[in-house]
Amino acid sequence: MAAEEHAAESMGMIEKVHHNLNIWHIPQEPWHLGSIGGFPIDLNPSTIIFTWVAMGLVLLLGFFFVRGANVRQPTKMQTMFEMVLDFLRGLVDDNMDKKKGDEIFSLVITFFLFITMCNIVGLVPSMMAPTADVQTTAAFAVITFVMMFYMGIKHKGGKYFAHYLKPYPFFLPITILEDLAKPVTLAFRLFGNMKGKEIMIYALLALITGIPWACGGFTASVVWLGFGLFVSFIQAFIFTMLTIAYIGMACADDH
């Protein structure tokens, strides 16, 4: 009984912090923008708004990367960006040949930059990581899923589907499940990490504001933000890496 009450109380506390932190007065209920063919157009306001914020920041960062960029004397930002590009290019080249790598490279960089920025946006208390909404991560995962088929069919034609029957035709259900599991795990891994990080931020803030005897709250919160930054980069990297690996496997030449 006591444990349940305590749980309810602390849940209420987290929601209270969540509510108090909503200093931008972003509505918590979905926007209803009518419907198309009976399908309602409902949007989650905070997800959409912070996606725009993240997009704006990525574009701003891109602007700084490119500004003053030249061949002989790279600016600091340009050098940093080129290091990231080199790193990602190395990952892509490890998984597929150069021509295929060229085709998906833009996608890979965008995944990395955008997911990293979405994750980091969520570190600012009062703001929400768009990736802490499963719809965002699902959208990204679906893009990877579609690219898998696109690249597979483009480079192998109809033979791409032969891999469902390998090593034996009766593995068909398992291989189909395996392919379906890819986008689902991609989406939920990123979503779970970011949602967890967000809930921990609220919980630790609740410790500071709500329960005076837990004076470790502030330190813990700072430590958690540092860890959150680390997790943000790692999850973006994992998502990008798995995207490269899945697409690489889909369009790999048969041995």
Binding site: L43, V66, L85, L107, Q135, A139, K195
Partner: protein
């Protein structure tokens, strides 16, 4: 927490928009720059290699020429040394011959002077003898005194030899 609505499609749209914008405004310029730099570096390396090969060729040529020049110099020095030695030998021999010649000339001079002196002395002795004889004949002379006189004169002349 896991409700799906149109946000999903909005996020797909957002991603595609961002991809297109970044591709146009960021990736293209930066990748072009990277490509240009790669080309620049490759060109530099190629030209450096070419220049190095040329430099090595030049170096080999210069070394060969240097070797030739050194040999020529050695030949010239050898020849000069040999010529100098020969000249020195010649000068020494000439000097020796000259010395010999001068010595002989001196000796012959001495001999001539001596002969001349003896001849003169003989003349003088003769005239002296005549003088003495005249004096003796005018003043008178004992036999002993005459003898002694003659003896002295002969001794004197003998000592002159």
């Amino acid at each position: 927490m896991l409700e799906f609505n149109a946000t999903f499609f909005a996020q797909l749209f957002h991603f595609v928009v961002l991809l297109v914008l970044l591709r146009i405004f960021v990736y293209k310029p930066v990748l072009n720059i990277i490509e240009e730099r790669r080309k620049l570096v490759a060109d530099n390396i190629a030209s450096a290699e070419q220049q190095r090969a040329e430099a090595e060729k030049l170096k080999a040529e210069y070394e060969a020429e240097m070797q030739k020049a050194r040999e020529e110099a050695r030949n010239i020095i050898d020849r000069a040394t040999k010529a100098a030695e020969e000249q020195a030998q010649e000068i020494i021999e000439q000097a020796k011959a000259e010395a010999l010649r001068q010595k002989e000339a001196a000796l012959s001079d001495i001999q001539r002077e001596k002969d001349k002196a003896i001849a003169e002395l003989r003349d003088q002795v003769a005239s002296l003898a005549v003088l003495v004889a005249r004096k003796v004949t005018r003043d008178g002379l004992t036999v002993e005194a005459h003898d002694r006189l003659v003896q002295d004169a002969v001794k004197e002349v003998g000592q002159l030899q």
